[in-house]
Structure formats: structure tokens, C-alpha cells
Symmetry: C2
């Protein structure tokens, strides 16, 4: 018997989409519960007490237990499947790209998308405006590093799809909403098409 | 036959210490190569071309292959050992704390330590000074979240030591160098003593 899976999410978040895409690629059914992060719905006393004390989405609920952190939730879903490499080095290398995603990519590529496409530049405070150039440069560096790695390679790790591809696809494929020019990263562009062509692929808007 | 393990590191970095501590707890021998990050030694063309195109330490070298990202390197070392839980939920929950460490804890707790204890407050630029209050608040929130989780629990995941404990121990146990008051987090204090009492424990200065 399998526990029911519930995704607590804000559907436009790439971090939430990662989990939906992982579940879709695996054919795992997922119930969805939507929270509006722009209205503080993940900071209510009830959410903090029952879903995630860190006040963030996504959270994957498995029966009556909860896994916060998008990449940990993807790992739970894919553990034992072909999306997690069987080879020990490749498995660690997959995690290397997933930690890179949360440390070097998401805080820059996703944050600029949220600021520019969701909050709106005119509503940013002084600190956010001051941070924009550094986030732009760091986001471009992350995309450039991916592009150099993917030149001559089909996938981020080994020669088949893994959670590294899923995790980095989520915010990369909508990076233009944050003002990044994907045409500057041709190997990334080819890789985005490859991920989008996978059997079971689910678009972000689905 | 096992490949030789070489840690490319800056020994005062908690991210590098995590890997040394993991290896020590497992009894795995590790050769060490030191780079001075304050002198740009991880941004040289040779380092970028051979060790890590991201220009960062730590990097774990396994034979002639490289794993950047501290928590991925710890996972490589501990994969298949008791430091990675056998239970599927607990394994994902361990990764949850390791992603929390890199997203919510390290950019605040470790960055303030680096700025205050290594660079020196008088050498910070205007942007760094402006960011200090937000990093202070976010670092305190991360420590508070750990403290509430550890109240009544011995370890972060399940009831035995895992990489979640190792990863979060590294910068938490030196958080006072970044101006955090650990006496405000009594459950964290008990947990730090428990980690330091493990067989095979290695101090940061070793």
C-alpha cells in the first residue's frame, strides 16, 4: 500500500513545478493544494504548525508526514527509479547539480523572475534594486556554467535523464521572464528541448 | 580497489570541514590540498579547467573525477553507510535538512562568520553592511527552527547520526564567530555536544 501524496504549493513557483514534473515523469498521482505566497498563506500559524515551520512551499505530504525543500521532495519521489543514477559517482554528481541549483541558480535566476514578473520592478524596495546587478551577473554565470557543461553532452549527469535535469529545467526554461537571454546559451537551449520531449513531460502551466 | 580521495579545500571553511568530518566518522583516509580563497587561488585558469568550473571549494577528487558542492561530496563518501538512513522517508528528510543548510543557514550563518571573523567588519563594502541585518535575522531564524526541531529529539532525522547532523554541525558550532549567541538555542547546544561526542569525531582545527 502506498501513502497518498499531496503537494502543498504555489503553482507558478519553479520549485513546486519540479516536484510535479518528477511525479509526472514517474507516473505518480499527486493531489495539489494551492497557497498564495504573495498573501502570506504559508506564514499562517496553522501552516507553520502542521505543514512547514520554515513557512515555505513546496512541501510534499506523504500520508501524515511532510518533506519540505523541493529537491528533497523530488528525491523522495524518484528514489529507486531511473531518475536517480544507480552508479555511486553519478548519484553524488546528480546531487552536486541539485545543490548548485539551490545555491547558485535559484537565488539569482528565480529571484529575478519573481521580482520582475510577479512583484513588478516598480514595487521593488531599495535593497532589492541594489541587489539586481549582482543577481543578474550571478544568474548569467550559472547559465554560462551549465552551457559549457552541456556543450557536447546530452544530459547534466551521464547520458540519461536524472533529477539534476529536472531540478535545473524548472527555473531555466522560464529564465526569460527574469530578463535572461536564453539565446546566449545554445547548449542549454538544446537541453531544454530534450527535457521537454521526454515521455510523461508536463508543462509548468498544466 | 578504491580510488584515492583528495579534498581540495580552504580548511577554515565549514563546507570543507563537513567533508573531513564525514570521512573521519567513516574512517576514510583523505589527502588534503589547501587553497587560500582570500587570494583567489580557486579562480585561477588551472583550477577552473581541472578542479571546478564554478571556482569554489570544497571539491572532492575521486581518482581523476571531481565532485563539487560540499553536501554532494559528503553524500558520495557516506553513500551506503549508516550516515545515510536506510528508510526512504528518512533519507529524503536528511536531504531536506541538507538543502535547508545550503539555502537558509549557510548564506547567513556562514557568510556573517566570514565577513566578521575573516574579512573584518571594517573591510566590508557598503552592500555587505546593508545586507547584515537581513542576514542576522535569517541566520537567527534558521537556528531557532533547528532549536525547536531538536527540542525533545536527539538528532535531526530519526534517532541516529546522519549527514543532516554533520552538514548542520559544521557552521553551527562556530556560529559565535559570526556574532550569533548559541546560548539562546539550548536544544542546539545539547545536539552540538552529542555530535562532538561521536566516535571518530574530528575537530575543525585538526
Amino acid at each position: 500500500m502506498t501513502d497518498d501524496l499531496i503537494l502543498h504549493e504555489y503553482s507558478q513557483s519553479g520549485n513546486c513545478y519540479k516536484i510535479r514534473l518528477t511525479a509526472a515523469l514517474l507516473g505518480a498521482p499527486l493531489e495539489r493544494r494551492e497557497y498564495d505566497i504573495t498573501k502570506g498563506e504559508t506564514r499562517t500559524p496553522q501552516f507553520l504548525a502542521t505543514v512547514n515551520p520554515n513557512g515555505r512551499i513546496p512541501v510534499l505530504q506523504i500520508g501524515d508526514r511532510f518533506i519540505p525543500e523541493s529537491n528533497a521532495a523530488c528525491f523522495y519521489l524518484a528514489d529507486g527509479s531511473g531518475l536517480v543514477p544507480h552508479d555511486r559517482f553519478d548519484r553524488a554528481d546528480m546531487l552536486r547539480w541539485m545543490f548548485f541549483e539551490q545555491y547558485n541558480h535559484e537565488p539569482n535566476v528565480a529571484t529575478l523572475r519573481f521580482w520582475l514578473a510577479f512583484l513588478g520592478e516598480e514595487r521593488l524596495d531599495e535593497m532589492q534594486r541594489a541587489l539586481m546587478p549582482a543577481k543578474r551577473a550571478a544568474g548569467e554565470a550559472a547559465l554560462q556554467l551549465m552551457d559549457e557543461h552541456l556543450a557536447g553532452r546530452s544530459h547534466l549527469v551521464g547520458n540519461r535523464l536524472s533529477l539534476a535535469d529536472v531540478a535545473l529545467y524548472a527555473y531555466t526554461h522560464v529564465a526569460e521572464e527574469g530578463g535572461f537571454e536564453l539565446s546566449r546559451y545554445p547548449a542549454v537551449g538544446r537541453w531544454l528541448e530534450l527535457v521537454a520531449g521526454q515521455p510523461g513531460y508536463l508543462p509548468m502551466s498544466a
